[in-house]
């Protein structure tokens, strides 16, 4: 059989009764292994990698600077003020936890549904999950202000005779996110064991052999090894599947369980989960496009993979748009004055600019994915996925800040309005920098990670 080049074949079509090829241009497993191992075995990464990694590292240093500034000065540098007592920290936290969900969905749910195309992207989507959860974890850690007391988040016996408030969703968050991180890490690592063994067997240097050997846990590829590996992977997939739905539901409880118009709605858990998968898949596309270009993985992460992911973005984007609409409908239908005010204020108040950024990025942009031309165009999908990332960040910002800023529910705020004081959050530059910094943190970690898909 002669070798067929990737760009000569279009595998995005759906012919009934005929499977579209998952991998292009390869005749056997050995060639696939060669292609996958190439980025890790290159003597020098491509120049573009250095440029992107350099930019990411500069932004990470910026993050380090602003985080230190925050720790030494206090959380006031975020521009927090009564009544907007949290904005950037929780926005970034929710955003990053959400990003992680695509990785888990790809690795767990698509695995259980026997979606074979997931194998092209699952490993690096899982790695993205892990780095995203680390980024998310940064923000509760620094928003406590006295970072050296961040261990108070955990129920550890202490000299104060004090426990966290078990009725608070913020503590549920601690459990949800730490469980999520642990299971994601285990899932990623268990899946990686045979790959690490392959790397070990191909490695030339003694140090590489030792390192890969240590982490491949003595894998020899025997039948018994494969049998147990498959079992463990299946069990972990079953464990991770409920997490896709539960983690962001718990995160949404941070808002839904409080009695604030704009937050106190039952639609929040499914709405947050849909948003999480939406933003997560956009991030996978954002990362997959340059990765397949730079590391020559176009035959493994084919146009069909990207097409599939864009379909998921379209579906979840519609769900998110439905949720936005339903929130307004219920605000009107409930007849609750405060609820009505909260939503009118969201769309036409002093933060309407953020609201309309959110709507145009999250509801209008993904509609372009109805067209196959758009779904299969690399530059277009890259740009659209960036729009979705921006939009989903603003979604959290809008939910959190607009609901708090003009809340007519609390009597205190009503008084401040009588006095002619309009409470507002004043988003300072530190907040923006940290948001960007965490992004590049993940990007840097991601590019350092390489791709073992």
């Amino acid at each position: 059989m002669s070798t067929i080049h990737a760009h000569e074949i279009d595998n995005t079509g759906d012919v009934p009764g005929k499977r579209a090829p998952l991998v292009l241009g390869h005749t056997d497993f050995h060639q696939v292994t060669n292609t996958i191992c190439r980025p890790n075995e290159m003597r020098k990464p491509p120049m573009a990698w250095y440029v992107m990694f350099g930019i990411s590292m500069m932004l990470v240093m910026n993050l380090g600077f602003v985080v230190h500034y925050l720790i030494f000065t206090g959380v006031g540098v975020w521009g927090l003020n009564n009544p907007v007592m949290w904005a950037f920290d929780i926005t970034n936290f929710v955003f990053w936890v959400g990003i992680g969900h695509a990785g888990t969905l790809i690795s767990a749910i698509l695995f259980l549904f026997r979606q074979k195309w997931r194998t092209g992207i699952n490993r690096f989507a899982e790695a993205m999950t892990i780095f995203a959860v680390i980024c998310a974890g940064l923000f509760p850690g620094i928003h406590v202000g006295r970072v050296w007391l961040a261990y108070w988040l955990f129920p550890i016996p202490n000299q104060m005779g004090m426990w966290p408030q078990f009725r608070s969703p913020l503590l549920w968050d601690v459990f949800a996110v730490s469980t999520y991180f642990t299971v994601s890490l285990l899932f990623w690592y268990v899946g990686l064991v045979p790959d690490l063994a392959t790397m070990r067997d191909r490695a030339k240097g003694k140090v590489q052999q030792m390192a890969y050997g240590l982490f491949s846990l003595g894998w020899r590829g025997s039948n018994r090894h494969w049998h147990r590996y498959e079992r463990a992977y299946l069990l972990l997939a079953a464990l991770s599947t409920p997490l896709v739905l539960s983690v962001h539901s718990v995160v949404s409880f941070d808002f839904a369980t409080s009695q604030l118009p704009g937050w106190h709605t039952t639609i929040f858990p499914p709405y947050f989960v849909a948003g999480a998968i939406f933003s997560g898949f956009a991030m996978v596309v954002t990362l997959a496009v340059p990765a397949r270009e730079l590391f020559g993985l176009k035959n493994l992460i084919t146009l069909r993979h990207l097409d599939n992911m864009n379909k998921v973005i379209l579906v979840t984007g519609c769900m998110v748009g439905y949720a936005y609409g339903m929130e307004f409908f219920i605000a009107w239908y409930s007849g609750a004055l405060y609820e009505k005010f909260a939503f009118m204020n969201r769309a036409f108040g002093q933060y309407s600019w953020a609201y309309w950024i959110m709507v145009s990025c999250n509801v209008i942009t993904p509609q372009l994915f109805w067209f196959k031309k758009v779904r299969t165009s690399i530059p277009l999908m890259f740009i659209l996925s960036l729009f979705v990332n921006v939009g989903m960040w603003f979604e959290r910002f809008v939910i959190i800040v607009t609901s708090l800023a003009n809340d007519r529910f609390l009597p205190m705020i009503a008084i401040s309005e009588v006095k002619g004081v309009m409470p507002q959050a004043d988003p300072h530059w530190e907040g923006w920098h940290q948001s960007h910094g965490a992004g590049s943190n993940a990007a840097a970690a991601h590019s350092a990670n390489g791709d073992n898909s």
Partner: protein, 216 residues
């Protein structure tokens, strides 16, 4: 294909790795519970004071009342540290040329206070009220120990939040008749448990443990 594998003896190391992994969470918990306690971090804090004032001599031997110097203790949240003038009530007559009192005389002449070092320091987010405790029968002894036996004052109790709560949740072991509060040489169990229970009822002692009791 030559395959690199670790030698068989390295399997023996596996149990150690597992044991360390299993013990690590327990270790962290114990480290936080005991290691981060003021009992460990501050111990019996005993700084050297600018003037070698001996409570053992003045209180233990000469029988000065606590309130002679710390005169605001019954009426205010803060128990005053005495001004130099209080020292000089006696020391213009007694040991007036003692070399140990050089700094006291200097302070008396210049009007600059002696810089005593605070031994019992609470966080500024904890509002402790001396008057509230002293007038209801919590003796100085309970927090400050046998000051009448201390040459140099040290911290007798940990002053940790958990330690405050112990008494707030179960005050019976720490109360006495209010008129005996300053008799710090009398141990609290000079009064029987029944007598103390009677005192709690009579003096209406019901300390609470809400956050806002101390953190306002």
């Amino acid at each position: 294909m030559s395959r690199f594998l670790f030698p068989r003896w390295s399997n023996a190391l596996l149990p150690f790795v597992l044991i360390v992994g299993a013990i690590a969470p327990l270790y962290v918990s114990l480290l936080v519970a005991y290691g981060f306690s003021p009992k460990t971090l501050d111990g019996q804090y005993q700084p050297e004071q600018p003037v070698p004032y001996s409570h053992a001599l003045h209180v233990g031997k000469l029988g000065l009342d606590c309130r002679y110097c710390h005169n605001t203790v019954e009426n205010a949240s803060h128990a005053a540290v005495p001004p130099t003038q209080t020292c000089m009530n006696c020391h213009t007559q007694i040991h007036k040329d003692s070399p140990r009192l050089v700094k006291v005389r200097e302070s008396y002449e210049t009007g600059m206070p002696i810089e005593w070092i605070k031994v019992h320091k609470l966080g500024d987010y904890a509002y402790f009220n001396h008057a509230a405790h002293v007038t209801r029968g919590v003796s100085c002894l309970e927090c400050h120990g046998r000051v009448d036996q201390m040459e140099v004052v040290h911290r007798a109790q940990p002053l940790a939040m958990g330690w405050c709560l112990e008494c707030h949740r179960n005050p019976i072991d720490h109360v006495r008749p209010p008129e005996e509060v300053f008799a710090i040489w009398k141990p609290t169990d000079s009064w029987t448990k029944d007598q103390r229970l009677e005192l709690i009822k009579k003096n209406d002692i019901h300390p609470n443990d809400y956050c806002s009791t101390c953190h306002r």
